[in-house]
Structure formats: structure tokens, C-alpha cells
Symmetry: C2
Subunit: 119 residues, 2 copies
DNA sequence: CAGAATCCCCTCAGATACTG
DNA sequence: CAGTATCTGAGGGGATTCTG
């Protein structure tokens, strides 16, 4: 099989829909931190279910850390990029570099994606 | 929507199963070139259908070039990485670098994937 | 607010069989 | 050799509804 390869294992979740956008949202947040609703508002089209699932995957992979503020009512959760999470932005930058170099005709980026994604 | 972003557009096909393995196979070939059967043999588990579909996608995206040798019977096709195809290996290297740095526990790579993938 | 539970749909991968 | 055609099953994404 091919599942044992670190590269493919990484792509298995990194390649999923919304995954990179979520990481970039956290990357843009103060201290690499954002709340659930905050992310959801900034990613038009994403559903709570998918966002929840992705955040759980990212947490399991150690790319983000979840913190529940139990003191506040109603409860709030925020999510912060870990060191590895911040570091994976380098991969995204590399993809972007490649895309801009070879796919220039595509540079019409959606508003919430690239022109302010700090890459 | 999020489909306009170059990064996401790239991940849309790059993230698909077998895609990276195919690229790496071509990368390993002489002159970045391999034949259909050659790739298939070296990627145990892949079906002709999926390989065919992936190669077509890669061709449409300009990462590979197909060449049919009409003179030989039975006909042979070979596939060669284009400049952009060779360049995207940099992305794969970056992913690998990240994975090895943060996912060291996973370094048991499948035989045909990593230990000879020249990365 | 931050999810969990359902339900539906649709694509995609895999297997098998067939062909120029 | 290099595919195409067809069928199948599993999984992922989306919409809706409900809840601590």
C-alpha cells in the first residue's frame, strides 16, 4: 500500500476541503488564535459540521490546540496553531509560489482567500 | 466560494490519491519519463482506470506531456514531466520536510514510496 | 455559542470485463 | 499495450434540526 508514506499521510488530511483555509484563518488571528464562530463567519459556505470535523482532525494531528473557556456563559472555544501548525504554512507558501509561477492565468483569487491571506 | 484560490485549486488535484506517487515515478524515470505499464507496475494497487484518469488530469493541468509512439506496434505511450511538473516536486519536498520534522514517529515508510523516492 | 445527530446526495475509488 | 465501459460500495460534504 501507499498509506505508510509520510507525504501521503499528510496529504490525506491536508488535501481535504476547507483545511488550508481554516489553517490560514488561524494564522491570521492574533496569536494564531480564533474562535469557532469567528472562523465560520470568515469562511462563507462552510457548515458547522464540517468546521467541527476539520478542527477535530487538526487537533488530533497536533496542528492546533483547543481551549474551552468554561468560565464564560455561553461557553466559548478557541483554537490556536501549534508550532507544527504554524510551520505548515511554509508548505502552503510553497504551493502558492508554484501556482503563481505556473498558473498565472488563475490569479483571480476569491476575496476571502488569497489577497489577504498574508502569503 | 473558495474555489477561486490558486492554492485550493492546486490542492484539488494534487491532493487526490496516487497523484504524488505518479509524479514521483515520473521524476525517477530517465528524462523524467515513464511508460504507462511501467508506472502501473511500480505502484502496486493502482488500477488502470485510476492511473489513466490521473494522467489525464496531470496533462490537462500542464504538469506532464503525453507522447504516443505510433510507429511501434503494439502502440506505446510515454509521459514526461514538464517544467512545472518537475518544479512541483519542490512542494512535495517541503511536505516531506514538514512531516519528518513533526511526525517523526511515522517515518516507517512503505517500500516503494519514500526510501527511494529521492527526496 | 459550539457543536452532535440525521438524512440525502454525489463523487470517487476499486473490481471486472472488454477493445483498438 | 494502453486504455475504455460499467457496476458497485464507501465516504465525504451539505442542509437541517436539536441541545447543553
Amino acid at each position: 500500500m501507499q498509506s505508510g508514506c509520510t507525504v501521503n499521510q499528510t496529504l490525506k488530511y491536508l488535501g481535504k476541503k476547507w483545511m488550508l483555509l481554516i489553517i490560514l484563518e488561524l494564522y491570521k488571528g492574533e496569536g494564531y488564535t480564533r474562535r469557532f464562530t469567528e472562523i465560520k463567519e470568515r469562511l462563507p459556505g462552510i457548515t458547522a459540521k464540517v468546521l467541527s470535523a476539520r478542527l477535530k482532525e487538526l487537533e488530533e494531528e497536533g496542528l492546533i490546540e483547543k481551549r474551552i473557556d468554561a468560565t464564560s456563559v455561553p461557553g466559548r472555544s478557541d483554537y490556536t496553531l501549534t508550532e507544527s501548525g504554524v510551520d505548515i504554512v511554509e508548505v502552503i507558501k510553497e504551493i502558492k509560489r508554484w501556482a503563481l509561477r505556473w498558473k498565472i492565468e488563475n490569479l483571480a483569487c476569491g476575496a476571502q482567500d488569497c489577497h489577504d491571506c498574508m502569503l
